[in-house]
Amino acid sequence: MATTVNTITGTQTMVLNMGPQHPSTHGVLRVVLELDGETVLKARTEIGYLHTGIEKSCEAKTYSQAITLTDRLDYLAPLSNNLCYCLAVEKLLGLEVPKRAQYIRVLLTELTRIGSHLVWLGTHAIDLGAMSVFLYCFREREEILKILEMVSGQRMMTSYFRIGGLALEPPPGWLAAVERFVGMFPSRIQEYEDLLTKNRIWLARTQGVGKLDAEDAIALGVSGPTLRGSGVGYDVRKFFPYSSYDEFEFEVPTRTEGDCYARYLVRLAELRESLRIIRQAMAKIPAEGPIRSEAPGIVPPDREKMKTEMEALIYHFKIFTEGFSPPPGEVYQAIESPRGELGFYVASDGSPKPWRVKVRAPSFVNLQALPKFVEGRLIADVVACIGTIDIVLGEVDR
C-alpha cells in the first residue's frame, strides 16, 4: 500500500484515490486525497473523464443542429442549456421571441430547476446516508419528467427550445399537468424538510462543513446556490433579466453562513421560489399566440404555411439543408441554471456554422472550490462537500 512520509509533520500519510468510480462522486470525478488518518491534508481534483468535445463538435454543426448537443451538457437540466444557447444565438441575430414562447420557456426552465434540485437533494441525502429522501425526490422528479415528455416527447434530452421560439406547440392538457404538480409539490417539500431540516444528525453533518466566505466565493468565481449560500445575492435572473424574468416576482434566497447547511436551505428556498414563478407563468401564458418569432430564413415556417406557400417551402428547405448565417460578431449570454451562471459565448464569422461556441459551465467553475471546502476536514466531509456543490460531470468536462 502506497504510503508516503509527509516531510512537514513527519507522519505517514496515505494517498487515496476517490473516484473516478465511486458512489459519491456523482459521476466520473476523481479526487486525489492525501490523508493523515481520516483527515484530508490535500485534495486534488482531476477531471476530464467525460470529455466529449462538445465545443469542438458545435463548430461542425449548423446553429440549429448544435442545440441537441447542449442537452448533453448538464443532463439534469437540459432545458436550461437549450435556453441559454438559443438566447445566445438569438442575441447574435438580434431576434425577438414572442411573449408566449418566453413565458413557456420560463415555466419549463423553472420546472427543470426543480427537477435538478430534486436530484441534488436526493443524492446529497443518500451520500450522507438518508436513503428515503433520495427515493422521495425521484418520485417527484418523475412527475416533472412526465411533463417534459408530454411537451417535447423526451424525458431528458428534450431539445425543446429552438432558435426563435419553441419546437412544437405544447399539447392540450399540459398546463393541467403542471397545475397538478404545483398543487402537490409544496406538501412534498415539507416532507423532505420533516426528514432533514431539523434532524440532529443532518445538522451535525452539514453545519460548519464546507465553509466558504463571500470573499473567497467571489474570488473563486462560484455561482448559483453555492455563491448565495455564502451571502452574495448574485442571480442572473435578477441582474441581467432574460426571457421576461423581469416581469416575474420572486425572491433570491441567500444565507450568510456559507456552509453545506446554508446551501441546503438556499436550494430548498429556491424550490419554493421556482414554484412561485411557475404559478405566475401559468397565469401569464396566453392560450393562443405564436410560439416562434416571424423571421423568414431563420425560424422554420409553420407546417401549414409550408404546405401552401412556395416561399415558406424554400425557406424550410434552406434552413434544414444549409442553415442560416448570423452577422459576424460575438456574444456572451448568461442565464441562471440550477447550478449557477451558465454562459454561452458564441462567435460568428458570418457562415452558417458557429466559429466558436464556449460553455461557461457553472459546475466546472464551482468545482474549483472543492479543495477549499475539504482540506483539513474528514473523509466523510468530502462526500458532503461534493454533494453540496451539485456538480454534473457532463457539464464539467463537456
Binding site: M1, T3, T11, Q12
Partner: protein
Amino acid sequence: MSLELVLFFVLAAMAIGGAVSLILQRHPIHSALSLIVVMVALAGLYLLLGAEFIAAVQIIVYAGAIMVLFVFVIMLLNAGVEARTNVSRMARYVGLPLGFFLTVELAYWIAGGAGRQAPVSAGPTPTRELARMLFREFVFPFELTSILILIAILGAVVLAKKET
C-alpha cells in the same frame, strides 16, 4: 478416555499450536491471530477448570479488547513482514537450548512432583463467591487496580498526544 480429558487435549493442542505459530509466523497480524487462538483455548481450559467467570473475562478483556488493540495498532502502523535480521548469537546458541532445557525441566518437575495432587471435585465456582472475595478480602487491591487503570489511561493519552 473421559470427555473432559478429550477436551483438555484438544484445547491444549490448540494452545500449543497457537503459541508455536506465534513464533513461526512472520507477519504480526498472523502472530496476533495465533495468540488469539491461544487465548480462546485457555478460556476453554478455564471452563474445564470450572472458572466460568475468568473464562468469560479472558475472552472479553484479552481476546476482545487487548488483542483488538494489538490488531488495531498493527493495521494503523501498516506493519509489514518482519525483517529477518540476524538473531544475536548469544540468543541463538545459548538462549535457545537454555529455554528448551528450562521448559523440559519445568515440565518434568511439575509432572513428577505436583502430579500427585488429586483435583478437587467438579462443579463450577459460583461467580457470586468470586465477587464476595473480590469485594471483601481483596477490596483494597481491587480499588488500587482502578487507580492503576486510570494512570494507564492518562499515560496512554499523554504518550499518544506527544506528537502535536
